[in-house]
């Protein structure tokens, strides 16, 4: 046990240019041109992904009733003994919905990771 502890010495590294440690987050906060472009690109990517995800659904919702309306004999088509419409709307459409949802989430999260990376780049 020492009664006289040694005097404290401040240890520091080489001086850094603290002002340049800012990330691009402030560009968005200040709504600069770059910040606006970053936000625009995120929104556009997410909206494009949303439209792409919904496209197969729209095709089925519009196309299936229309196909049966134009070609009524489709209702006589049997798949494994069951009417075609029942197989598609009763069973097959559900795995498709889950698959579309799952792939949407993966890609939407990827877009957000890309965005976070772009925003957190340290400006020089």
């Amino acid at each position: 046990m020492s009664t006289n502890p040694p005097e404290r010495v401040r240890v520091t590294g080489p001086p850094r240019r603290t002002t340049s440690r800012r990330t691009r987050a402030h560009e968005i906060d200040d709504q600069t041109l770059l910040g606006t472009v970053l936000m625009e690109s995120l929104l556009r990517a997410q909206l494009r992904l949303a439209v792409l995800t919904l496209a197969p659904l729209v095709v089925i919702a519009v196309g299936l009733p229309l196909a049966f309306h134009l070609v009524p004999s489709l209702s006589d088509v049997r798949v494994l003994g069951a009417p075609l419409a029942l197989v598609v709307l009763g069973v097959l459409i559900y795995p498709l919905l889950i698959l579309l949802g799952w792939s949407y989430v993966r890609r939407a999260e990827q877009h957000e990771r890309d965005f976070a990376e772009l925003v957190q780049i340290v400006e020089s």
Binding site: M39, L64, F68, D76, G81, G101, Y104, V105, A108, V119
Partner: protein, 496 residues
């Protein structure tokens, strides 16, 4: 009709279990935030079960099988639409809605548009849609209890309303979360186990399949009557695909997620849970067709076990299905009541002597008693049809508000008001027509019966055009708000 002891016991058990889990959940309910949104700490797996439990209403449990039995494959668009509505919600609304940080739809509208008039309008519409959805739940409870036990139909409505009220009053959203997660699995079991047994019985019987009478309308995935049938089918698709996001009890569930990413993941689990459930009602419809149970289609799910399995076995299976049906009424009514009570608390009791939990409880009483009284007095539309109308109103009002509010900076308060008003009046015409004794034929009848195909585009267009015309009223904070809606929470940004 003879009173069935197992069914009465089953209904009593569901009511008791619901109240017991609700009381257990009460131990975790401490603050006003717990009552409204379970303090936003519900994890995806539990939350998804709760959403599934809340969403699978009487329309799904009883109505779908009955409709498919009578009208055929075009009615499969109901369950497909109920599920696909969640995919639409996932890609357009889920994460931004959670990130908006609002408790309810009126909260979102006010935060986005900085207008208390839009807020008040949204409150009125939440209450209207909620009640429109609650009435058939209570009516369904009536006919279920009547079919199972021979009790008068008002008694079922009263039983469900009482259990819901006790539960909501005691625990709010937090206890409801546990109750509803339990009820999803109860509903799935109650439909799955009898379905397996009944398919076994059918295979044993060696009867022909349901498609023995080939070539009739049953295997057609669109309505009868040429282009009118096509219109009705497309209109139903639009109402269910786009209406889901605007249902008050669905939206309020998204605020209970911890963050936007969890909101998305929860929704995918919900898609899977709903898909598993909706495989079952068509099985009942198909078997009902084989065994000729078309007499009372609304309760085919309840009657089929007794019809196919005579004796105690059938009684027990029927009791299980009745239990599931009651779980369906209880969970959906609870969710809707909490949602309606939530907006009433904030907008009707704001500034009154009732505050916090007290105001929430007073609102809950109003939210439950009004539709219960209406259910006894109003004509019975058929469960799925009435619920379909609620979807049409939601699709014509909140869907444009949410989609344009989230993805388009140009939305203004005046534009939102104009669009909401137009959509509400247009779809409301359809509701009034369906409820009134007045009936007509031809295209007028078709357009009013299923208004979504014209009322939704009309609401979107009005909202867009009026917002464009009042572009100087775009709120100043809109860019900041878009940052809040769309950026991941992990990135440190100024979100206003």
């Amino acid at each position: 009709m003879i009173t069935s002891v197992p069914s009465v016991v089953a209904v009593a058990l569901v009511a008791v279990a619901t109240l017991a889990i609700g009381t257990w959940g009460l131990r975790f309910s401490r603050t006003t935030s717990d009552f409204f949104v379970a303090s936003r700490t519900v994890r995806p797996a539990l939350n998804a079960s709760a959403i599934g439990g809340e969403y699978l209403s009487a329309a799904s449990f009883l109505g779908v099988a009955g409709l498919v039995l009578v009208f055929g494959a075009d009615m499969l668009w109901y369950p497909v639409g109920f599920t696909a509505g969640y995919l639409v919600l996932l890609v357009l609304v889920a994460a931004p809605l959670r990130r908006s940080g609002a408790y309810t739809l009126p909260d979102f509208a006010e935060a986005r548009l900085a207008s208390s008039r839009v807020r008040t309008t949204c409150t009125l519409m939440v209450v209207a849609i909620g009640w429109l959805y609650l009435v058939p739940q209570f009516q369904g409870a009536g006919i279920t209890l009547e079919s199972a036990t021979g009790a008068p139909s008002w008694l079922g409505a009263l039983v469900v309303a009482t259990v819901v009220l006790v539960n909501v009053l005691s625990g709010g959203m937090r206890s409801i979360t546990f109750v509803q997660a339990f009820q999803y699995w109860l509903k799935l079991t109650a439909l799955l186990v009898p379905a397996i047994v009944l398919v076994g019985v059918w295979l044993d019987d060696g009867r022909p399949g349901p498609n023995a009478t080939a070539g009739d309308h049953w295997s057609l995935p669109l309505g009868e009557g040429g282009t009118q049938g096509l219109y009705l089918t497309w209109s139903l698709i639009i109402a269910t695909f786009l209406g889901t996001m605007g249902l008050p009890h669905v939206v309020v569930r998204f605020y209970t997620n911890p963050d936007g990413r969890a909101a998305r993941r929860t929704t995918v689990v919900v898609l899977a849970l709903l898909s598993a459930f909706y495989l079952l009602p068509p099985v009942y419809a198909a078997l009902g067709r084989v065994y000729g149970a078309e007499a009372n289609a609304d309760v085919i799910v309840l009657d089929l076990p007794k019809l196919m399995v005579p004796g105690t076995g059938g009684e027990l299976l029927s009791a299980l299905v009745t239990a599931g049906a009651f779980a369906a009424f209880l969970s959906t009514s609870s969710g809707l009541s909490v949602a309606v009570a939530g907006v009433l608390t904030q907008d009707v009791f704001r500034g009154s002597r009732f505050t916090g939990v007290g105001a929430f409880r007073a609102s809950a009483v109003i939210a439950v008693v009004t539709p219960c009284a209406a259910a006894v007095a109003a004509p019975d539309l058929g469960i799925a049809k009435a619920v379909g109308l609620a979807f049409a109103v939601a699709a014509s009002t909140f869907c444009p508000l949410l989609v344009l509010g989230i993805w388009w900076r140009g939305l203004t308060d005046v534009g939102a008001l104009a669009g909401l008003g137009t959509g509400f009046v247009a779809s409301g015409l359809g509701v009034t027509y369906s409820l009134s004794p007045y009936a007509t034929t031809g295209w007028v009848d078709v357009l009013l019966t299923q208004p979504a195909a014209w009322s939704v585009p009309l609401a979107f267009t009005t909202m867009y055009v009026v917002s464009r015309a009042t572009a100087d009223r775009v709120p100043a904070h809109v860019r900041r708000f878009m940052v809040r809606l769309h950026t991941p929470e992990a990135v440190a940004l100024d979100r206003g």
